[in-house]
């Protein structure tokens, strides 16, 4: 974790894992990790020195030994995986303060770090606190006796989902028997799993390509994030959700034209209500061209979209995008899950959006103030439940598809989200883990040793799009099989029969009020 000062120009420039201080003050921080190497096993190949992008390993020529700088280690385990002799172990550096359940070591470290720097603490990935995960308190149903379960290996099991605004009613011309209703654009996905917005610049071009390829292999969609789309990925346009965010980076007619779905980004679960900042050193020539900004300048996304201060402004942007693309593409609006999500979502639906994307407090990011990441927003489970119910109470649930994001870890979470009421989910972190990410939270440094959250040429090459796409596709294939198994167990063979079907959920360890908000009964009821 590093620190930024209040002056954004001065402080954002710090993008290394090494804390740097604005006066010469001894640091009271202890290293987080300890790199332990078996000297007996080590063959001095220096692979770890090469692999570590944080400068935590070095070769001491005079002693012919490989040594570590524990302070620099972020715990990403790149060296552990690549060491040919399994010589390395990364251990927690024991910080055995006097036991205190309240003033935990993390709290003490954060205060210390801020005392030494006077800055906002910046971190990467999602909220890591042991907060309640409602997914872990919901059980799914299965058929026994009164109706048969269905075996997905022998019977059709349908995950196909269409994203887009649905009419309340379909008309059939009585004279001709022909369809009399023209539907808004509907986008077919073969599995209810999409890839979350991760911008080119925050992640490398190879990561963008891997996600795009995986989406096309799976028949689903990936999201460009707010940094535009590199022209070499235009051929994956049919699997692309093109984001239009507050910085408008990379938004031009061709970008909108190649995409399948457009998404207006209002907020992000990891940092609701605040903008983004990509430091100048991540803005390589390619990133700069794609974002349409000068090379090496900071890419600042304002906190709000400055042409959207109200719902009617949002409606104007939605229709501007629809006009620009001749009403051929659904327009999604992505918001962070916050306290009045139900009412906000209703407004978005009425403003003309075809899709609403909700991003919960577990949502991840390349970089965000830690205090924001860990404290703003609400759990996605609650947001899904209240938004779906609100739209139904108002009779407008058909008008929008609902997509949820923020911390989906496995197919169980996905299936429960669908039963709570979403059409599909976005996964981000899980897709990155499939590529090698180990959740070290050092993304904001731009030095990701796994070549994911970086624009460094050398590090970027660590991800081979062909292999990474296959890993991601494998993951989602596996989840899709598991979702089919769960559907079959519930006696359902089409995903729309689970969507919003909360009778298939039961709560364990929930208060009555929590169960009521989630719209579920408790187990045993």
């Amino acid at each position: 974790m590093t620190v930024i000062k209040n002056n954004p120009k001065a402080s954002h420039a710090q993008s290394t894992a090494l804390p740097s201080y604005h006066c010469h003050m001894p640091s009271y921080l202890k290293p987080r990790f300890r790199v332990e190497r078996s000297d007996r096993r080590c063959i001095r190949c220096q692979g770890c020195v090469e692999q570590c992008s944080f400068g935590a390993q070095y070769y001491d020529e005079s002693a012919d030994r490989v040594e570590a700088v524990d302070t620099n280690c972020v715990g990403c385990h790149r060296c552990v995986v690549f060491c040919p002799t399994s010589a390395i172990e990364i251990r927690h550096n024991p910080v055995e303060y006097r036991d205190n359940a309240y003033w935990r070591p993390e709290v003490i470290e954060d205060i210390t770090r801020q005392a030494e720097t006077g800055g906002v603490l910046i971190t990467g990935m999602g909220n890591d606190k042991p907060w309640t995960s409602y997914w872990d308190k919901l059980c799914l149903n299965a058929s026994q006796v009164t109706n048969p379960s269905i075996d997905p290996l022998r019977e059709p099991m349908e995950l196909r989902t269409y994203l887009g605004s649905k009419p309340d009613q379909v008309q059939i011309d009585p004279a001709t028997g022909r369809l009399g209703t023209r539907l808004a654009p509907q986008i077919m996905i073969e599995t209810p799993v999409l890839f979350s917005a991760m911008s080119y610049g925050a992640v490398s071009i190879n990561v963008h390509e891997s996600l795009a390829r995986a989406a096309s292999m799976l028949g689903t969609l990936f999201n460009t994030g707010e940094g535009g789309l590199h022209p070499k990925l235009y051929r994956y346009g049919g699997n692309t959700i093109a984001q239009v965010a507050s910085g408008r980076f990379g938004v031009h007619p061709e970008y909108l034209d190649v995409a399948r779905v457009l998404e207006i980004k209002i907020g992000q679960g990891a940092k609701p209500g605040i903008g983004g900042h990509l430091p100048g050193e991540k803005i390589s020539a390619e990133v700069a061209t794609t974002r349409m900004i000068p090379t090496g300048t900071d890419a600042l996304s304002p906190a709000p979209q400055h042409d959207i201060y109200s719902i009617e402004d949002l409606s104007q942007l939605i229709y501007a995008l629809k006009e620009a693309t001749n009403y051929t593409k659904p327009v999604s609006v992505k918001i962070a899950a916050v306290h009045n999500s139900g009412a906000i979502a209703s407004g978005i639906a009425r403003a003309g959006a075809d899709i609403i994307a909700l991003d919960g407090i577990r949502g991840s990011t390349g970089a965000a103030p830690k205090i924001i990441r860990d404290n703003l927003g609400i759990p996605i489970e609650m947001a899904i439940a209240s938004v779906d119910q609100r739209l139904r109470s108002e009779g407008i649930r058909n008008r929008v598809s609902l997509v949820a994001a923020g911390g989906f870890r496995n197919s169980g979470d996905v299936t429960k989200a669908i039963a709570l009421g979403v059409d599909a989910v976005y996964i981000g972190t899980a897709a990155l883990i499939a590529m090698g990410c180990t959740e070290c939270q050092a993304c904001y440094t731009g030095r990701c040793a796994w070549g994911i959250t970086t624009t460094d040429d050398k590090l970027t090459k660590r991800q081979n799009p062909e292999i990474a796409a296959q890993r991601i596709a494998n993951l989602v294939e596996a989840w899709s099989h598991e979702i089919k198994e769960m559907l079959g167990a519930m006696g359902i063979n089409a995903i729309e029969s689970l969507r919003g079907n909360r009778l298939h959920l039961r709560g364990v360890g929930l208060t009555r009020e929590e169960a009521d908000i989630l719209g579920v009964s408790l187990a045993g009821e």
């Binding site: 109706n147 269905i150 019977e155 059709p156 309340d168 519930m490 729309e496 919003g500 079907n501 909360r502």
Partner: protein
């Protein structure tokens, strides 16, 4: 508000589940016939029920009062009748009221007071609303607000007779041998999670629509929420009620043809849809996109009827039995073929309808046979 679930769902399950026997018989020429065959046929499937519910729907029942809504009402308490009659006088013009004739007999226990009224709704000059919508509204109002009252039949020129007992006993109790109709449907019930109450037996009715149903719909939770979005209150918490409202929404309110309704309730699989010719594929896809929440997923067989029409339908992968047969102008639909051959040993055609393919009998039209028959007949004519 009265909790009308209590009698049927006293353990507050998600919903009432049951398995059953179904039988329906219709003369498409409109000839009236007695219920004797229907009773014999449903009695033949005795073992598919457990004596906790039996019922019948009869169409063409009240030709002398064909223009009036016939309300069949159960009174479970003494004051219920007084209160309801005050309500009826306020909301309707009642042209005739009478006790439904019954015969007490063993096997049919704890009957409520059973009355019928022939009525027309009183219009509120300030509101633009159809008679049908008004009647639906008033029936729902009575059923949810007047204690111990349950209106279980509310259509024109038709009626539902139902109660606790095996269907043959319920028929005897209601003296069904005294009635004639051109369309009869019947139901023997095997509830799995309720001791059964009189109102919970099938057929389920709203206006002249009736539904008898066998199965357990795994999509109930979303079907119900979908219908709630369109203003229906699923007070009975049964699959049957959901099916009835779905049909009402699709056919009466959205004006879709019966075949389209079947496409919604038992959608073809995507792999079939993908092989359809363009225009059809576009239509079926649009229906599924818009009405996915109404797909009845899981095992079911339904016999749906209203004035002039009887429809049999099984789920998309045919997890519950359905047999159909034709003899002259008479169409039979049954859970088991044996029940049909019992009452009509010389049927001309019999077939097992495919999942999602409706069997339809329509007054004044020849019964549409499944495609194979069609082809063979045409070939025969050509020769």
């Amino acid at each position: 508000m009265k909790d009308i679930l209590n009698p049927d769902n006293r353990y507050k399950d998600d919903k009432v589940t049951d398995a059953c026997s179904l039988f329906g018989m219709m003369d498409v020429s409109g000839r009236l016939f007695s219920g004797a065959d229907t009773v014999r046929a449903i009695a033949n499937m005795h073992d598919r029920g457990n004596g906790l519910g039996g019922g019948f729907a009869v169409y063409g029942l009240y030709p002398d009062f064909a223009d009036y809504y016939a309300l069949h009402i159960m009174y479970m308490g003494r004051s219920a009748k007084d209160k309801t009659e005050v309500f009826l006088k306020d909301e309707f013009d009642v042209v005739r009221s009478e006790e439904i004739p019954i015969r007490t007999r063993p096997g049919v226990t704890n009957p409520p007071g059973l009355w019928r009224y022939f009525v027309t709704p009183r219009k509120d000059p300030c509101l633009v609303v159809s008679d049908d919508d008004l009647v639906v509204d008033k029936v729902m109002q009575a059923n949810t607000t007047i204690p111990d009252t349950f209106i279980f039949s509310s259509g024109k020129n038709m009626g539902v007779f139902k109660g606790i007992g095996f269907p043959e006993d319920v028929a005897d109790f209601y003296r069904l041998e005294d009635y004639e109709g051109y369309l009869w449907t019947s139901h023997g019930r095997f509830p799995t999670n309720t001791p059964g109450w009189w109102g919970g037996a099938h057929p389920f009715n709203i206006l002249d629509w009736t539904v008898v149903h066998n199965g357990e719909i795994s999509s109930y939770g979303i079907n119900r929420r979908y219908l709630e979005m369109h203003g229906y209150h699923c007070t009975m918490q049964t699959d049957t009620e959901v099916a009835a409202y779905a049909v009402d929404l699709l056919v009466r309110r959205h004006g879709l043809p019966v075949s389209t309704m079947a496409t919604v309730l038992a959608s073809p699989l995507w792999e079939e849809v993908d092989r359809m010719p363009d225009e059809k594929r576009e239509m079926v896809t649009a229906l599924r996109q818009a009405y996915g929440g109404l797909l009845l997923n899981g095992p079911f067989t339904l016999i749906i009827a209203h004035n002039g029409e009887m429809i049999g339908l099984t789920d998309r992968i045919r997890l519950r039995p359905l047999s159909a047969a034709v003899k002259g102008d008479v169409l039979f639909i049954s859970s088991e073929e044996s029940a049909i051959t019992l009452v009509c040993p010389d049927i001309e055609r019999s077939w097992k309808p495919r999942g999602g393919e409706p069997v339809v009998g329509r007054l004044g039209e020849p019964v549409a046979l499944p495609k194979e028959w069609d082809v063979q007949n045409r070939e025969a004519v050509g020769r």
